[in-house]
């Protein structure tokens, strides 16, 4: 039996008496890409934040490979890679040092870092400090942090944001390779081209 890579069951989140997520449920098998769709304010980012443990849902649960996705569980943190909007940078570490730190923290070495830098076009900026990066380069660095470490589930919040045309083409290609490698990808996106190019499943919320 194949265990779902990601299961969300009855997830609800309220801000005061405003219901942002109401009983959201879905499953995602390994090697599948799902997009969360919904109008502005429908709770897409809140859903992704609850899935990665950046926010606490009021009800429901998230399972990663059949295991309750408690963010305090090191096994869960090892399995789930995420690039959300809340990422921040050490002002005194260069681009390459950020990536090497993530690789090291996950028990790996610096081997994939150079390749990811090249893939994302960040090589010229490898020694730059974050404050000198453009918003597009920062976005690429955030995405790169997911690809220098092991992962079975990848969570991306509007990954196409601030990427140029070539960057978006790379992103689509990269997501296909993630799928081929068996990673389950959950993303929120407003880019119909990206969605049509890579997405297997659509999860509609807030309608």
């Amino acid at each position: 039996m194949i265990v779902d890579a990601l299961s969300v069951r009855g997830l609800s989140r309220n801000f005061g008496n405003l219901v942002v997520l109401d009983d959201v449920s879905f499953t995602l098998a390994p090697g599948r890409i799902a997009v969360v769709l919904g109008p502005n304010g429908s709770g897409k980012t809140t859903l992704l934040r609850c899935v990665v443990g950046a926010d606490r849902p009021d009800a429901g649960e998230v399972l990663v490979q059949g295991r309750r996705a408690d963010e305090t569980d090191p096994q869960v943190r090892a399995l789930v890679a995420a690039a959300l909007d809340d990422i921040d940078f050490f002002p005194d570490l260069s681009v390459v040092e950020h990536l090497e730190l993530v690789a090291y923290a996950h028990g790996g070495n610096a081997e994939p870092v150079e390749e990811v830098l090249a893939e994302l076009g960040l090589e010229p900026a490898r020694d730059q400090l974050p404050v000198t990066l453009s918003s597009g380069q920062r976005r690429r660095l955030a995405l790169a942090s997911c690809f220098v470490r092991p992962r079975r589930v990848l969570i991306l919040d509007e990954p196409e944001q601030r990427l140029d045309v070539r960057g978006r083409q790379w992103l689509a290609d990269r997501l296909r390779r993630e799928r081929d490698a068996g990673t389950a990808v959950l993303l929120a996106s407003h880019d119909p081209e990206l969605i049509d190019a890579v997405v297997d499943e659509r999860i509609e919320i807030g309608r």
């Binding site: 963010e71 090191p74 730190l101």
Partner: protein, 473 residues
Amino acid sequence: MTAPPATIADPTAGVPTARQLRTHLRRARSRHHDHSLSDVLGDAYVMVLFVGMYGWFAISASRDMLDSPTVGQAEPGVRWWLAVAALLAGAGLTWRGLRALGPLLVTPATQSWATSAPVDRRAWLAPRFVLLLLGAAVGTAALGVAVAALGGVSDPAALGWAAAAGAGWGAAALALSVVAQSSRAGRRWPTVAGAVPMVAAAVLTTVVVLVGHLGDGLPRPATTPTVALFALAVPLAGLGTILAVRALPRVDRATLTTGAQFANAAATATILLDPSLLASLVESRRWRRIGRVRSHRFLPGPGWWALLQADVRRLRRHPSALLIWAALIGVQYAAALALPGLAGAAQVVFAYLAANRLTGGLRSISRSAGLRRALGGSDALLRGIHVVVPAVGAGLWWLLTLPTVDPGPASLAPTLALGVVLAVFRAGTRPPIDYGGATVNTPFGMIPIDLLRQGSRGPALLAVLVLVQLFLG
């Protein structure tokens, strides 16, 4: 090469220990700046020296002031019981502060690049917890000594017991707040633990005020039970620490980073001398907790009438502002009992604080030129409409606290009340801080006098009003 492996047999295999990762991060960061440990210790030494020096000076001056004829003599038990109430209220507020901060937190960068890895959470957080525990114990020990010294205690043994009791309760509060941080959402005990001392303080203040006005006042206990407080605090601190250490692995990302936002805003507000940066965050969190409100149409009338209704509606949706406004009435009555000679000055200060809670609308329109453009009309008209609620609030508050002060010259009370409204108006309409102003080089370093001038818009007028009251009241 960068694609993930087909299977991850043990996802945490090869992951460094928390100490290794911390060392790795520290080494990487230290390559780009030369901020050494001795610099940190030097800064800490200077800070401790300044806090100790000025703290002791403040205690001595306050103690002399409390004994001076200017302040007036209070019933012996009144000050003692009101001090207990103040400590209880302080404990409740401290608990709320600890809960807002975390108290354990990691910076967003650390969360993004280090603690999102499968590193042992307890080992990562343990050094911070120990530091916080020691800091809380030392800080509250100093507070215990300060309170005892203010109360007239000079015996070293008694001061020692006060320090020990303070340290015990500080450590217990810190440890239990970590336990609260790790508890699941929706648990009620952390909220109750913060509310109990606040309610107790309110009840005690009310009793002291009522008995003080209607009877002979509550008697002061023969001795202050510092030893008993210490004996209670030690097991609580021990138990709290054990529970907190057990809870460390359950402290999650959501609570670690939420507190960091608050701490970051507080630090930025302190460095930039702009408390509105912190106030904005607190305000946005408050409205987020409310989430949705019931919308109503405004009663028909001219534009200013709709704006006034909106300001009143804003207040109804923020009842804690009214609660604080009302609580300050009780505080004024208590202050008049404890410091009869300073009741008039206290009335000016508390009236300002009470009315300042009602300036949400005034601050919103003053902060945003875009909002003023959208609303239309002149800036003066918009500000004039939004000062109505704070002015009415200040007037009502003043009337309700009139029995606490000697009347003085006939024109004094209305002058001071109007002055308070003007001070609140000035504080509420303060424009965004301009950092390009003048600084003056002094023997104590560069003093940004223009920043201080901008920050004191409102409080400076309040200080003048207090002086007027002291000389003419």
